[in-house]
Amino acid sequence: MFDDLSDLYQQVILDHCKKPRNFHEIPGATCSAHGHNPLCGDNLKLFLTIDGDRIQDAAFVGSGCCISKASASLLTESVKGRTREEARQTFDKVREMVTTGKVQDGVGKLAVFAGVYRFPARVKCAILAWHALVAALEDPGKSVTTEDEQT
């Protein structure tokens, strides 16, 4: 019945939304930020532990739709061990991917979100956690909402 949605709800995404990884707070995290989508009520908080320039640990809590939860879960896996700059670059690639469908090198598993661009209403869900990541890196403690951002 939902075959046309299989591009969006890929198995990996379904798996991560049902069993989100790194789904907990990090007490004493180096930085954190809040992401909020006022349209559908998605609400998540991202925690990062940073040592020098490298992200040692990443985790999140909160609630949201399948796409936003899976996106946050895969984000935490993806940025662990990366430098700030690499994480920031990944954000750019993910944003490009979910708005145009173009998959660039180095996104790894995150390529499962390439289908999102065909569903404009869900782009905000996919990108929310990434906005929270950038906020945590650049302006810790900040709250970002999907309504302030272009996407």
Binding site: D4, C40, G41, S63, K69, C125
Partner: protein
């Protein structure tokens, strides 16, 4: 074919609802044919439109009225003396008179045309509120208000120093805690604004009783009828409210037109809301005299086709009979409630009995947004989100719900299909 089966004389040209509403059974499925938009496929499946609380669809009779107005009668109102201007003015004022009749106002002078419910409430908040509220006064609302009956009052409270207080919800039943009303009204309440039917819960508030209690204490009342006006018979005199607001687009009319009913003496005493043409008697460089209500509140060229379309919508609804529409809505909602509550993993919101045609629900472990997206793939239009009632969602401990809201063109078969699709959605997300 006539929708009113034992009245075969009814004309088909005017649509299936053209028979008198006083006798006969309505063939609801037949009425669907009056709505061209319903006859289409969405993602390859027949459209099931369950987002009527957001906006209703429009019957051919309304589309025809709009077209006729622009093809034959269009001109500005209350200005010219040429034939078209006369026709446009007559149509505009006829719509006002028809609206007065539709909600049983005492006279057409009690009907102000607005952009919608939201503007009607803002008009009262600004005009009545700024003139009558002062520091220490209380504006009483309920915990289930739509943002449009909440934010305007917060803004006016900030400007006047008045306080906003809420009648609480009984969490068990999602109905107002009526035991608390009198104590709350005994505070320094000046204005009591309440929703008639909650767009999130389907709760029907006992507005006549609430207004009677308020009136005893000289408190001015407003009823937000956005969800009631096109779904049940409404008599503002029987309700006993001072103001009543509703939107044309939710009752088969066009978008951009709404109605504020206000008791004549109150409207006459209220200062203008906006200034401009149409609302003046005479203007000098240093002074203006305003027209009486309702024209005082209709500055500038109004939406003219809107009232024309609304007129056709009100005629259409009353040919079916709002008593019948109400019964149909309630039966469908009760059926949906029964079928959905029989499923595992479905949480229903709203009252256990007597709900209007609004059913909000959540599936265990599936976000409302995903439910709505998958339902759409199956041709079913639902709404997911906070439904412009964020404080209420917060109170219920959720961030959003999925909502199916019905109108007379919806059928039990469509509810059955919804239940089937929800089962599929549960399977899709099964852990």
């Amino acid at each position: 074919m006539s929708a009113i089966v034992n009245n075969p004389a009814s004309s088909t040209r005017r649509g299936a609802a053209s028979s008198s509403s006083t006798a006969g059974e309505v063939n609801w499925a037949e009425l669907r044919k009056d709505f061209p938009i319903l006859d289409q496929k969405i993602h390859g499946k027949p459209l099931i439109y369950f987002d009527n609380a957001a906006t209703s669809q429009k019957p051919q009779a309304v589309l025809d009225a709009l077209r006729h107005y622009y093809e034959r009668d269009n001109a500005n109102v209350h200005r010219g003396i040429h034939e078209l201007s006369n026709r446009a003015t007559a149509a505009y004022e006829a719509a006002r008179a028809r609206t007065a009749q539709f909600i049983h106002a005492r006279s057409p002078e009690e009907i102000v045309f607005t952009r919608g419910t939201t503007e009607a409430i803002n008009l009262v908040a600004h005009s009545w509120g700024m003139a009558n509220l002062k520091s220490g006064d209380v504006i009483l609302l309920t915990e289930m208000e739509h943002h449009s009956n909440l934010v305007p009052w917060q803004l006016i409270a900030q400007r006047t120093g008045a306080r906003v207080v809420y009648v609480p919800l009984r969490s068990d039943e999602n109905v107002l805690d009526l035991d608390r009303i009198d104590a709350l009204l005994a505070g320094n309440v000046k204005f009591f604004s309440m929703v008639h039917i909650s767009n999130s819960l389907g709760t029907v508030n006992p507005v006549a009783d609430l207004c009677a209690r308020a009136r005893k204490r000289g408190i001015v009342t407003l009823v937000d009828g956005a969800q009631s006006a096109g779904h049940m018979p409404v008599d503002v005199q029987a309700i006993g409210c001072d103001f009543f607001a509703f939107s044309g687009h939710k009752i088969c009319g066009p978008t951009g037109i709404g109605v504020l009913y206000g008791r004549q003496d109150l409207l006459d005493a209220m200062p203008p809301y906006q200034g401009g043409g149409e609302m003046i008697l005479s203007v000098a460089y240093d002074h203006t005299e305003f027209k009486k209500a309702p024209h005082r509140f209709e500055a500038g060229t109004p939406d003219i086709s809107g009232p024309v379309g609304l007129h056709a919508a009100m005629d259409y609804l009353d040919r079916i009979g709002r008593d019948r529409i109400w019964k149909h809505d309630q039966e469908l909602a009760a059926y949906a409630q029964e079928r959905l509550s029989a499923l595992n993993g479905v949480r229903l919101f709203g009252p256990k009995t007597g709900r209007a045609g609004v059913v909000s629900f959540l599936l265990k472990d599936v976000h409302a947004h995903d439910v709505v997206m998958l339902a759409d793939q199956a041709g079913i239009a639902l709404r997911g989100g906070h439904h412009c009632t964020q404080p209420l969602m917060h109170k219920l401990g959720v961030e959003s719900t999925a909502r199916a809201s019905f109108y007379f063109y919806n059928t039990r078969e469509e509810v059955d299909r919804l239940v089937e699709v929800i089962r599929e959605i549960q399977k899709f997300f099964a852990v």
